[in-house]
């Protein structure tokens, strides 16, 4: 395709090869990886900084006020001001706390969060690590971050932190299941667990106009919705931000952290959000592919960025709108709504794949059956979850 030879498209790879050209072949692999790591840290570090600013400004605009606009033109220097503040704060560690664990918790959390960035394809040839089982790697790394949450809560030597850490763990473990179950149909449909393979399987346009992204199928839309809700909960975002809300046991498992360590937890949360959004773009929204054939001249990493920013704006929009869920409401949502929906979605995806050969008049029938299979359980389960909500009955001793 003529687009793959465009300069803008190949610019990152060309730059990297130019920078490492003087090295011998054996060291070139190592230098390439190092450059990839530095690029990811730089890009996502800056994205994290400006995401905090964008969130505050968008939240402000939704609430009829400007966000921060004092620290530089339109508040653009605000993230750096916040960074300086975090760095210069005194690092208070309780004397009775477990010093080693208290120190290691943010380190472990950040390490595993950054590991998840390694398998996301950011552009046509821009995936740092092309693994055969990339999706499993991603979810393995993101589920190991839960250990750090426990370490933070336990090491603080504060019973409220411990309770909050256990609640946070309950939330994270409950939402792992719908997250993973909603990804299984994707593996079913594309026949591979490699992220580059999944993006390649979503190539092309139906009738030259509609992209073959998985989100444009009934089961794909449902899986995307379940994935996004679970991603919100996995990264402790509103409305699932019970573990870190100020009114809930102070700051939950983060109570005893101040200064830079708190900034590291914060950074890990945003990195988790970005990584899960990146994975959603890869699995459901066709990765770096353009939505129309005419728009292919725009480089692939630009499309990835546009889709990623759209999902992140969606996260911020949801935070601006919805109130926080209680712990029993969140776990009930996970186990009673999302897990059954994800399981039924698996059946729908299986039906969709098996009926891929239907022709002619059977196509609308296929769509109708799939939509009923997706919408029916959602409506029924939603109705049953919402019922029984009435005035509380009190039992007295």
């Amino acid at each position: 395709m003529k687009t793959t030879s465009s300069l803008l498209e190949n610019a990152p790879v060309l730059l990297r090869d130019w920078a490492t050209a003087f090295l011998p072949a054996r060291a070139r692999w190592f230098a390439d990886s190092l450059i990839d790591i530095v690029a990811i840290l730089a890009v996502f570090g800056l994205l994290f900084a400006f995401l905090t600013l964008a969130e505050r400004k968008i939240l402000g605009r939704v609430q009829n006020r400007p966000g921060p606009n004092r620290a530089g033109w339109f508040g653009l220097l605000q993230p750096f001001a916040d960074g300086i503040k975090m760095l210069t704060k005194e690092d208070v560690v309780p004397a009775a706390a477990d010093q080693v664990l208290h120190f290691l918790a943010p380190v472990v959390l950040l390490a595993f969060s950054i590991l998840t960035f390694a398998v996301i394809p950011y552009g046509r040839n821009l995936v740092p690590l092309d693994l055969d089982a990339a999706v499993v790697f991603f979810f393995a790394a993101s589920s190991s971050t839960e250990l750090a949450v426990f370490m933070a809560g336990w090491a603080s030597h504060n019973k409220y932190s411990l309770f909050a850490a256990m609640r946070a763990l309950a939330q994270l473990v409950s939402y792992e299941l719908p997250l993973l179950l909603s990804v299984v149909p994707v593996a079913l449909a594309t026949g591979t667990l490699s992220t580059t393979g999944i993006v390649a399987a979503q190539a092309g346009w139906k009738w030259g106009l509609v992209p073959r992204w998985l989100v444009f199928t009934p089961w794909g839309a449902a899986a995307f919705a379940v994935f996004m809700v679970s991603a919100l909960a996995e990264s402790n975002r509103s409305p699932f931000d019970l573990p870190e809300a100020e009114s809930e046991l102070i700051a939950g498992h983060l109570t005893e952290y101040s200064g830079f360590k708190y900034a590291l937890f914060f950074m890990a949360e945003y990195f988790g959000m970005c990584a899960l959004s990146g994975m959603a773009v890869t699995l459901f929204l066709g990765g770096w592919q353009a939505p129309l054939p005419a728009l292919e001249f725009i480089p692939s990493y630009a499309w990835f960025a546009v889709k990623l920013l759209a999902l992140l704006s969606g996260f911020i929009w949801i935070r601006a709108t919805l109130p926080r869920l209680r712990i029993d409401q969140l776990t009930r949502l996970a186990w009673k709504l999302l897990v059954p929906l994800a399981l039924v979605n698996l059946v729908t995806a299986g039906f969709w794949e098996l009926s891929a050969g239907w022709q002619g008049a059977h196509q609308p029938l296929r769509w109708a059956v799939a939509i009923v299979l997706v919408a029916g359980p959602a409506l029924l389960l939603g109705r049953s979850l919402g019922s029984g909500i009435g005035p509380r009955t009190y039992r007295y001793a």
Binding site: R61, P66, A320, L322, L379, G386
Partner: protein, 206 residues
């Protein structure tokens, strides 16, 4: 239906977001300190002393150091010392004036009791709130020089109240003048007409 509530909520926030750019009236933030909000007329914060003319604010204070406000102030933040001499006030009458008039704005709670009890409309509520200082012990103690402000200033911050006070003072002044004239006329009419200097007789030498 399941989920419509969420979508309606999202629509409300989206409308607010777009509205904050397109519909200026929704965006009610004033960029302090570049812009100031127009304070309501009845807003009050810390008292000040009214003086009749702005050329000589300290010399034309309405305050006669009666010390009623000092006694009535609940946190006792006013300190007054009377003068030893007297000065003519706006009506020409000789009155004592406050030699020292201190209000500790760190203590004052703007309850307006001093304004309510002043018989001379000498102390009124100001609207200052940007008087922060770096000295926390006596930086907020305002003395006579800082507290004396002209009547024009009073008109500019509380127009209705100032007009009412001016009207009342003018009316009382007129009433006093009327009374004085009536008393003088009564005095002139009660006594037999005291012959004034005899009219010069024609031809008499002065």
């Amino acid at each position: 239906m399941f989920g419509t509530g969420l979508l309606q909520g999202l629509a409300v926030t989206a409308k607010n977001f777009a509205g904050s750019f397109l519909v200026r009236e929704r965006f009610v933030t004033t960029q302090y300190p570049e812009e100031r909000t127009k304070l309501p007329e009845a807003y009050r914060n810390f008292p000040f002393l009214v003086s009749e003319s702005h050329d000589d604010p300290l010399g034309t204070l309405r305050c006669v150091a009666c010390q009623i406000c000092e006694k009535e102030c609940p946190p006792q933040c006013i300190y007054i010392e009377k003068s030893r001499d007297k000065k003519p006030d706006a009506n020409g009458k000789m009155q004592i004036y406050p030699a020292i008039f201190d209000i500790d704005t760190a203590v004052c709670m703007s309850c307006q009791i001093c304004v309510e009890v002043c018989p001379f409309d000498a102390i009124k509520m100001d609207q200052v709130f940007e008087i922060a200082v770096t000295n926390r012990f006596d930086g907020l103690m305002l003395d006579k020089h800082a507290l004396a402000k002209p009547n024009e200033y009073f008109h500019s911050i509380h127009p209705t109240e100032a007009a009412e006070v001016d009207g009342r003072l003018a009316a009382s002044r007129r009433a006093a003048e009327e009374k004085a004239r009536a008393a003088a006329a009564a005095k002139a009419g009660a006594k037999p007409a005291v012959p004034g200097p005899p009219p010069p007789t024609p031809g008499a030498q002065p």
